[in-house]
Structures are given as structure tokens and as C-alpha cells.
Symmetry: C2
Subunit: 145 residues, 2 copies
């Protein structure tokens, strides 16, 4: 997966560039975020990291993802009624499709958000900085069961 390697490198560069250190625990979190396409939550990352570093704490995972979010190296999908999920492959806002039954999240290719944002500025006078678009429904698997 050359793509996830590039992302991992970019994350490390960002951290180093802002004076942060690359600890083993942190690196483990970065690798998971750079590689996984299923938008893991903190708990899932935590479980994975503990396989290699059993003493890792949940707080450390939280601190790392928060850091990456601030550096815009990860896209956080926060939900009001459940834990946040993270997209480490595409850190810039893009639409997601979310299964309300099994919780799976998939990326969408739809890319006309820039235009929409411009329309919104026209309509409302806001200076738009970012956006969020989620579709909810049943994934193919859950549809047929």
C-alpha cells in the first residue's frame, strides 16, 4: 500500500514540523490511521495499538488523534450520540455514507462541494471554511438481512 505509506510520511512530517515527538505508541496510532479504510473509532484504534504496546492508555490515543486533527492530518467525524470516527486517508472534508445499522462508513467520490460552498456564500453572506456531508441509510449487507 504505497498510498498509506505516503500518508504516514506526511503525518510524521507534520508532527515533527510542529515540534512533536514520534513515540512508539504514537507511531502505532499513525500507522493504523494511515492504513485503515474503515474509519475507525478511538476504541478500535486503542485495541489495535494495545496488541503491540499493551501498556498504552486510551488517553494517549485520544491525545494523538486530537493532535492529528488540529494539524489537519486526519478528518474527524464527530457524532452527538456515539464516539467519533476518523479518516486518515483523506484529511480534507468529503462526503460519507453511514450505515445506521452496523455503523460502517464509506467514502464518497462526490466532489462538487466547492461549488456548493460558493453558492452558500452568495446565499447567506457567510465566509465558508469547511463543511460536512453525511448520508445515512442501510449498507448493501444490512439491506439484505
Amino acid at each position: 500500500m504505497p498510498d498509506s505509506y505516503r500518508r504516514l510520511g506526511q503525518m510524521i512530517k507534520s508532527l515533527r514540523g510542529s515540534g512533536r515527538r514520534i513515540t512508539p505508541q504514537r507511531l502505532a496510532v499513525l500507522k493504523i490511521l494511515a492504513a485503515s479504510k474503515d474509519h475507525p473509532g478511538v476504541e478500535m484504534i486503542y485495541r489495535q495499538v494495545k496488541k503491540d504496546f499493551p501498556t498504552t492508555s486510551l488517553a494517549t490515543v485520544y491525545k494523538t488523534v486530537t493532535l492529528l486533527r488540529e494539524l489537519q492530518e486526519v478528518l474527524e467525524l464527530g457524532f452527538a450520540d456515539q464516539g467519533s470516527r476518523y479518516d486518515g486517508n483523506r484529511p480534507s472534508p468529503h462526503p460519507h455514507v453511514i450505515c445506521t445499522k452496523c455503523g460502517s462508513i464509506v467514502d464518497s467520490q462526490f466532489s462538487q462541494m466547492k461549488e456548493l460552498a460558493r453558492e452558500m456564500t452568495q446565499e447567506t453572506g457567510f465566509e465558508i471554511t469547511h463543511h460536512r456531508l453525511d448520508f445515512f441509510g442501510l449498507c448493501p449487507k444490512c439491506r439484505s438481512s
Copy 2:
């Protein structure tokens, strides 16, 4: 405001229709939701209701808005990092524009979501049931200050 009257009537009908009772506290919440265009949060509703019914509890407000959400008489805008906001004027999903500085929320007229949802079904195989589209940025007032 004949429009908010219609909404209020609809809310009451929904509640009655599902075997619920119209208490004074509840009615006060309904009125606020039907009338306000600024997407109030629970705390704001609570403060308003207490003016007329000082003994009202926050829990009652929560229970009422949850009920209305379930009956689809109110659109809940949940956020991961702050309290939810409620739209009692347009209960079906529609885009919102949110000021990241002052927290104001305005509705948008953009209405091509149906088409987009169809595209998403094509692209992902999901059966889309609803969606959420938020734009974030600075409102005109906050832009110039």
C-alpha cells in the same frame, strides 16, 4: 406568524396521535420550537420555558425534544462537542450554515439533496434514508469584527 401556528398545530396533532398528553410545560416547549428561527439549544429552550413555568426541569425539556425528534416534528442538529440545536420550522433534513465564532445557525434554500442521495445509492449501493449537510464559517457579523 401563521406559519408557526400551523407547525404548532401539527406538533400537537402528532403528540395526541401517539397517545401523548399536552401539558403546559410541553406546550411551552412546542411554542418555542415552532416559532423560533434561530435553532435554539436545550438550555435556551429551558430558560425561556422557565419564565412562564419556573419549576420546569431540564429533564422535561430533554424528554420533549426527544419525543418530537422521534415523531419527526423537529430536526435535531447534534454536535459532538457541544449541545444539540433544534429546528422546529423545517423538520425534514436540509442544509445549515453555522458560524464557528458566535454559533448562529441559518437555514439554506439548497434543495438538490434528493438527487445527490440518488447518486449516492448508485455509487455505494446504500439505501439512503436521510442526510445531513452543514457548512461552517463566519457569519456576516463575525466577519467584520
